[in-house]
């Protein structure tokens, strides 16, 4: 494989502006927001249901509560045992899954169009009447705890929760990845209470997308979700202080059998609604979001130090992080990190050329249609995000114009503002005996953890 497929790195068409296809939005009397987006061609229909709250709504001592609640929705309901639910979904050739991100739970189910009613009934049963059977709760929590061991056997997967807990710290909702202790504290009643409080009308966004009969769908969906108690919209806590280092910080996670070092270099970033988002998408794509990006060009293409190096900008409700991510063989750990820092410094100091900006604009626009409006699922995803973050359809409809409007001066100002070189956070996961000395270069003291130990950075 030439490279790992990044989870759809932002990229777009040189032609005319891509527009969102027609859709309707409706607010039910109980506050639930429902979108309908018709797309014929394939006889499939999907239901995407968003519940506000997400990982942010986990109580501090119960990280993972929202996520485990989502996983258990289908494992026994008022009308169906877990086994019956799964039999019925599978018998229709349907799918059902649910998970969380920073600020929401998303359930996604897809059926053949002819099974619209049966599919909707299953979705509603799981979302609105989960039973959280004690036995299923116990099994799921115990499986999750073992899942942590499996994650820690895989350094590429383990580095992310280590970085999040170290960078944000446990006082911040983004700094509390679920661990053995938090799973141990969660009880069935916590899920029942959480569900009752958050899966309510004012907190729901329902998106029906695909090939369906609009009148019949509307009647059915209104009847199904209109009866949900209105409750209260989830009250997000006031934004906690974003992490701010007064000196560089270093975490070293020891995995003695590792033959390469995985590393993250993090610094404070932005929230999803930042007015800088369009220039920042361009700037980050140029710096670390495409194959010819500065970081990948330096660490991979020119030097052969790694199979992949990238940077990403967290786009969530609260201020997040901007990170550089890569890995290299144990022996070249310092060389690769130093090179990444050189590229970062050069970018901060010198920014980009007009030619580079033009290239990245073309790139971002060129793949935009394939990522945003190609499938009914992609459009449903965009609609859900718009509603969740309070954005409007210009987010898509004006995207090309906004990209075109970014000037070189603006882009370079954004590069200087966000791609800083001081007081960075470094997380290294590898063979500590061999990279301890290298790690010490990057900060006044190095915090060490063992990948075999329970918990993450645990500050």
């Amino acid at each position: 494989m030439k490279r790992l497929m990044l989870a759809l790195a932002l990229c777009a068409s040189l032609g005319a502006q891509v527009k969102l296809p027609p859709y309707t939005r409706e607010v039910l009397p109980n506050g639930a927001v429902v979108y309908y987006m018709q797309r014929t061609g394939l006889p499939l229909v999907s239901f995407r249901v968003l519940v506000r709250g997400g990982n942010e709504s986990d109580p501090a001592a119960m990280a993972g509560l929202a996520s485990v609640t989502a996983e258990l929705l289908r494992r026994g309901t008022a009308q169906r045992t877990a086994a019956q639910f799964s039999e019925q979904i599978d018998a229709l050739g349907g799918t059902f899954g649910a998970g969380t991100d920073e600020q929401s739970t998303t359930a996604y189910a897809e059926f053949l169009s002819k099974d619209f009613n049966a599919g909707l009934a299953l979705v509603a049963d799981a979302l609105l009447a989960p039973a959280f059977p004690e036995e299923e709760v116990r099994k799921t929590l115990s499986r999750r705890a073992d899942g942590l061991k499996s994650t820690k056997d895989s350094p590429g997967a383990a580095i992310n929760p280590y970085y999040r807990s170290f960078f944000f710290g446990s006082a911040h909702p983004y700094g509390r990845p679920a661990d053995e202790a938090s799973y141990d504290r969660i009880r069935r009643q916590d899920m029942v209470d959480y569900h009752q409080k958050t899966y309510v009308g004012r907190n729901l966004i329902v998106i029906v997308a695909g090939d369906f009969d609009p009148a019949a769908a509307k009647a059915r969906v209104t009847q199904t979700f209109g009866g949900v108690p209105p409750g209260a919209a989830y009250a997000f806590a006031a934004a906690p202080a974003a992490p701010k280092n007064s000196e560089p910080r270093v975490l070293l996670v020891d995995k003695p059998d590792a033959t390469q070092t995985y590393f993250v270099i993090a610094q404070p970033g932005v929230r999803r609604s930042t007015p800088d988002r369009v220039p920042l998408i361009l700037v980050n794509t140029l710096f670390g979001g495409r194959f010819t990006s500065m970081i990948n060009d330096a660490l991979r293409v020119t030097s052969g130090l790694t199979y992949g190096a990238s940077s990403s900008v967290q786009m969530a409700r609260l201020d997040g992080a901007i990170t550089i991510n890569s890995y290299t063989k144990t022996e070249t750990t310092a060389q690769a990190i130093d090179l990444a820092l050189d590229v970062l410094k050069r970018f901060h100091d010198q920014g980009m050329t007009a030619e580079q900006l033009a290239s990245v604009k073309a790139y971002v626009k060129g793949s935009y249609p394939t990522r945003t409006v190609q499938t009914a699922d992609q459009v449903a995803n965009v609609l859900g995000e718009m509603e969740l973050f309070g954005l409007d359809r210009d987010e898509v409809d004006q995207f090309f114009a906004r990209v075109d409007a970014v000037t070189l001066e603006q882009a370079n100002a954004v590069a200087r503002k966000y791609y800083r070189t001081e007081n960075l956070t470094f997380v290294l996961l590898g063979n500590a005996a061999k990279i301890r000395e290298a790690a010490a270069k990057y900060g006044p003291k190095v915090v060490e953890k063992q990948a075999r130990q329970p918990g993450w950075a645990g500050m």
Partner: protein, 434 residues
Amino acid sequence: MRTILAALLLSPLLLAQQDVRTQTLANGMKVIVQEDHAIPNVAMYFFYKVGSRNEHPGATGVSHFFEHMMFNGAKKYGPKEFDRTMEMNGGSNNAYTSNDVTVYTDWFPSSALELMFDMEADRIRDLAFDPKMIESERGVVYSERRSSVDNSNGGMLSELAAAAAFEAHPYHWPVLGWPSDIESWTMEDLKSHWSMGYAPNNCVMVIVGDVRFDQVLALSRKYLEPIPRREPPPPVRTKEPEQLGERRVTLSKPAQLPIQIFLYHVPDAKNPDMPVLDVISTILSQGQSSRLYKRLVDSQLALSAGGGVGDALDPTLFRFSIAPRSGVDPAATEKALFEELARLQSEPVPDAELRKAKNQMLADLYRRRKTIETRANLLGSYEVFRGDYAKLFTADQEIEAVTAEAIQRVAQKYFTSKNRTVATLIPEKPEVKQ
């Protein structure tokens, strides 16, 4: 509660061949085009029928290395220019190599169509082999191996398992190549790989998206047809001898949890037993009502369990993998798997369960067609592995034709202990340091 299982009625229009059109160029390259103007974008896939099965000991992994070198400069577009020019014009790309094929995948706005023909023809015809790029790319490939094998318990065990299951056939060695071969590839290896595998008559080009067939044909004639036809790769002569006894291999390394892989020899993609094996895979592994999920995951024996078989030009392997839970003896998960396979051999799959599996597979036929990328990949894969892209449009009939009797027969034929390789990762406890 009773579950009603109705057969899915696939819309005949959608499973028709739609607007797929083909042409074979004078130099033997096959062109397959499906117009789709929903978005102004194009997926352009080149399937070269050359992969690690065409390699030889000492130069294993060279197909994959060559795939990387295809991005490192040709005559008109020098080092780094393929990617730079493509991205500057709104496109992006990737590529993958398997045991059987090397596939180059380009995605771009339709405005870049002619440019893509120009760049692809340049590198197919006149790839440069810059010694400096060879050395730096060697480091990249080694890093890829370090990520997907050396620092991946599943990757390391898979490599070991395949090498044990295949003793003679080239599927024995990993696509990425053995480490010592990665260190030793020479420019000559690359050049001879190019002349062996990259003849236009050894390639299928698939284009799906915002194009017109006549436009694609004109560009193909201008840019690709002048590339001369050459000898295709020599046939792979070695056939794997029949396996006559269970093989067991273990991997001991530091880990918190064990992993198990079970391999059974099965035929190539064109064999009529393959759709039956695909239905078996669905019954065993797809969804939370599947047999292995219930038996192994829901019962708390495993974190995950499943199995299936991919397309292959030569007889291949049906592969199961299981991640036993902590404290569970791998012997217990193994026993559960073998009992489930024995059940497939001894009892016909009930009608409702067979109907369910078919419904899942038929719905998936639609899901796999959502994007121009997945359709390009499907059309090319069917053409290369099944000999005709149009078989994609009768895939539903193949699924429907599978009977409970066939499942029993096929399970009895392949899931035998003699035909099996079992690979187990045994976690090593670290030394306790005080």
